[in-house]
Symmetry: C2
Subunit: 180 residues, 2 copies
């Protein structure tokens, strides 16, 4: 039947630029109590952008949290009161310069629901037109292209280490197969 963890007390630890941290004291069944450390995040979008030649647009950037460069599909945080589809159009343009005739919703998911409410909306962009990119002030991004089939191989070879990009590779392959 399921139950809910009722919040007995909440404590704000930090309010930042891209995330907040709070601790909730929750009530469990049988009057037990536990602490939940929760990272509040505004949510994000990611875009699997597919060229007419079946190539996926990828971005390579240094990720300080993991202390290495990662190859990922373009992505970015939702701005205040921004719709996911709008954000997908904006982020694709900013990071890669591409605009898309078609921006299809694929799926949405929580990246790590054990400690954060970050939700990510995944889109498939097609009918691409190249243009000028406008990365944010603190973003240094290389734009790459790989065949969709090669991207799935790269997952198996351990060359793609980012969860949204792995989901993008599998989900878009499966979506396109089912459509055909």
């Amino acid at each position: 039947m399921g139950f809910e963890e009722k919040t007995m007390k909440t404590e704000k630890i930090y309010e930042g630029k891209i995330l907040n941290l709070r601790i909730d004291m929750v009530e469990l069944p049988d009057k037990k109590y536990s602490k939940r450390e929760i990272v509040e995040h505004p949510g994000a979008v990611a875009i699997a952008a597919l060229t007419d030649d079946n190539e996926i647009i990828l971005v390579k950037q240094y990720r300080k949290a993991v202390e290495k460069e990662l190859v990922e599909i373009p992505a970015g945080m939702l701005e205040i009161s921004e719709e996911p589809r709008e954000a997908a159009v904006r982020e694709l343009k900013e990071e890669t310069g591409f605009s898309a005739d078609k921006m299809e919703y694929i799926c949405e998911f929580y990246t790590s629901p054990g400690f954060t409410n970050e939700k990510l909306y995944l889109f498939l962009a097609t009918g691409l037109k190249a243009g000028e990119s406008h990365p944010e002030n603190d973003e240094y991004i290389d734009v790459l292209k790989f065949k969709l089939d090669n991207l799935v191989d790269m997952v198996w070879k351990g060359q793609i280490l980012d969860s949204k990009t792995i989901i993008g590779a599998f989900a878009v392959s499966s979506y396109l197969q089912n459509k055909r």
Copy 2:
């Protein structure tokens, strides 16, 4: 050719039970500076456990961070100096009671590298034997089973909202197809 963001200053904000928060001041190209808010996490394992009848074992639990019950593959954090495979065996047993003849490494990924170093190791468990579960004190878990094909359908229907479970569904389907 890629660059690194050099840490100029680091500030610990919080040290907790399952995560720490710190802020790094980093140097970018052209002597620009930026702040990176980083959630430190010990890493985790997730287990796609497949019965002889091609059913995947799932757990349903309330996730305070997202304020709802989610259906996920079993998972848990790495303990200090624990190998991922050991942790996978332990977590599968604790959360579901199942032990496995075979625990195969499938892939690994960062859940959300924009702000956390959390890395997740995914395993495929087969040759399952049922036993008694031993969830942690603050875990309330229902164990469910779904056919692997149905799990992929559930992703498309928006019934699976957890990234590791989506990767598990697609990756294990693809892995088993390639093996045949």
